[in-house]
Symmetry: C2
Subunit: 119 residues, 2 copies
């Protein structure tokens, strides 16, 4: 049973939009990711998603509304709600997600990551 | 769909060792708590527990080992592992826990909180 240091783990992440698993609890994975620029509009039909901002600013675009998240802020996106993460500058994010969650939800494109690395 | 600001929510918490629910995702609650001094040795037989440190220092005592957690560090305590949180000074903690989790696990005493408030 060891602690997890977010800053150390984040140093191991090079690429944007590629979440890495840092732990699991019950039916969820705890993930870390670096985001920059636009992701892709998508929806998770069966999973809620939690984003917690460790460093930087993340905008979650919803149809008709943007939510801007800063350090020490989080959002829980309920299943079924279409969204698109966007970050003007690099942002460091912790995600709490059901193990079944695919990063691009209902969409498959070049940003889809099916086999997540554990760091 | 609104964001959650941890610092604002923490200002609503007066008492130590009384976790408050700030959101839910899938089968878990996201909770905030302030801890100070000793809790109680306990075990969660069926639930893993995640602690993430927002401010301050938290020691988790295990039988034979202490783990000291600082800001931006977290730990996942697997089900079945006896532990006791301890904080020399006030510490602010986010918890990710299965909805069924009782704060004192297998123990019932004056620190047990059965009906958690949502803030």
């Amino acid at each position: 049973m060891n602690k997890i240091n977010m800053k150390e783990k984040l140093r191991l992440i090079d690429n944007y939009w590629e979440p890495k698993i840092i732990g699991e609890a019950n039916d969820s994975y705890v993930k870390l990711a670096k985001f920059k620029d636009e992701f892709v509009w998508h929806v998770h039909e069966n999973e809620d998603e939690m984003f917690y901002i460790i460093k930087g600013t993340l905008t979650i675009k919803f149809r008709g509304k943007d939510v801007v998240l800063n350090e020490h802020e989080c959002i829980i996106i309920p299943r079924g709600v279409e969204h698109m993460p966007f970050a003007k500058e690099e942002v460091h994010v912790m995600l709490i997600e059901a193990k079944s969650t695919l990063n691009t939800g209902n969409i498959e494109n070049e940003k889809t990551v099916k086999d997540l690395e554990t760091i």
